[in-house]
């Protein structure tokens, strides 16, 4: 990226830099992966900036670029995930292993990872960034009804994920609990 392209982009990106970087981190599953998504999005944005006619829509446009990069990466990752393999037990054996903030954040990432990319993006934008449905529709370049569906399906999957954590700690009471 040359200085001219960066200077033009940085004027627009500066005020929303952190917010967009946070969005990338939260949908990518880790800060490191999110930073990589963000960097690729910034490079792509620098190339495509001349095509953005209404600079007032830069925030939504930039978030759309992040979404596009995120989807591309998810699709590339397809090659390494379509085989059924046992994933590492990032969740832990029981809910109690998620006591501290770090573990709690990892569980949130694990829960979000169970969503399809469009659902994950919609949930993160709505729940964590406070975007309105019409704004998310603009970012995802889809209809508001599609966004609503993604939010509903995403929440259903999140509930299923958290529900799956419950039985191990509740379904089979220990002998000591029975006595107590």
């Amino acid at each position: 990226m040359n200085d001219l392209a960066w200077n033009e982009l940085s004027l627009l990106l500066g005020p929303i830099h952190d917010d967009v970087q946070l969005f990338a981190r939260r949908i990518a599953g880790s800060n490191a992966e999110g930073d990589d998504v963000f960097q690729e999005a910034v490079l792509r944005a620098a190339r495509k900036l001349p095509s953005l006619r209404d600079r007032g829509k830069f925030r939504a446009w930039m978030s759309s670029v992040v979404v596009s990069v995120h989807r591309s990466r998810c699709r590339r990752a397809f090659w390494s995930r379509f085989l059924s393999r046992e994933d590492a037990d990032v969740v832990g054996d029981d809910g109690a292993s998620w006591a501290d903030e770090r573990a709690s954040a990892r569980r949130a990432s694990a829960a979000l990872a169970t969503l399809r990319p469009p659902e994950r993006e919609a949930i993160v934008l709505f729940e964590l960034h406070g975007y309105a449905i019409e704004e998310i529709a603009e970012i995802q370049r889809s209809s508001q009804s599609a966004v609503k569906s993604r939010l509903v399906r995403g929440r259903d999957r999140l509930r299923a994920f958290y529900h799956s954590l419950e039985p191990r700690s509740q379904a089979v009471p220990t002998e000591e609990v029975c006595r107590g």
């Binding site: 939260r26 963000f38 960097q39 596009s68 397809f78 090659w79 770090r102 709690s104 954040a105 958290y162």
Partner: protein, 225 residues
């Protein structure tokens, strides 16, 4: 009532702020970023094109591939990747074939479709799959398939490690790359496998279709990343 993820999302919100880069740091990191080199096939074909890739993985005996069925699928290249995946999956299911379909479109409209099968059902798609791509010139369509047979089940090979190699980015670059002839393609596949410790794999390439057979234990240790 609060949703079960409320506290976890709050933690994620906090944790994701740790070590957040500044605008200047972003600029600095971009200047050190290597150029992307993957997907050269599409980049060298700016016109709308379509690549159909079939990756069939199965830790089964070769006999399972004896069955051949005729399966016809139509891909509408003007549909979105999600629509294509859904549509092709439906078509395959209607013909009794269970496979994972993946479609990807680049910004310039180039399309790549991958149909992958694993396990004993691999026979269904061995050579009887006919795919018609609508809305893409026939001259801009390419098809390449790769099958994989692990014939020894107790020779110390970790199937997941081999599967990682077969489905990893190096092999993906080969599958979507351009080669002058089948020998060059076979050499490229063999090189990737050898680099990951599977130097004893047998590679057969016929008209761009690749068959990888592993029937004995690895002879070399995996290369350092």
């Amino acid at each position: 009532m609060a949703e079960p993820w409320t506290d976890d999302f709050a933690a994620l919100e906090t944790r994701s702020r740790h070590g957040l880069r500044s605008l200047d740091a972003t600029r600095a990191s971009l200047s050190n970023r290597p150029q992307e080199t993957q997907m050269r096939f599409f980049k060298s074909h700016p016109a709308l094109s379509a690549l159909l890739a079939f990756l069939i993985l199965g830790a089964v005996s070769g006999a399972a591939y004896a069955v051949v069925r005729e399966v016809w699928v139509t891909v509408d290249a003007d549909q979105s990747p999600d629509q294509i995946e859904h549509d092709v999956t439906d078509q395959l299911q209607q013909q009794g074939v269970a496979a994972t379909v993946h479609a990807d479109k680049e910004d310039n409209g180039n399309l790549r479709v991958l149909i992958a099968q694993t396990g004993s059902g691999s026979a269904d798609l061995e050579s009887g799959l006919h795919v018609e791509v609508k809305n893409r010139p026939a001259g801009e369509q390419r098809r390449r398939s790769m099958r994989f047979e692990l014939k020894c089940t107790d020779c110390g090979i970790d199937p997941s490690a081999l599967a990682d190699t077969m489905s990893g980015p190096d092999m993906q670059a080969v599958l979507t790359g351009e080669f002058a002839n089948d020998d060059d393609l076979a050499a490229a596949v063999k090189k990737v496998l050898a680099a990951h410790g599977f130097a004893n794999a047998k590679i057969t390439v016929t008209d761009g279709d690749i068959l990888v057979t592993v029937d004995s234990a690895p002879t070399a240790s995996p290369a350092a990343p």
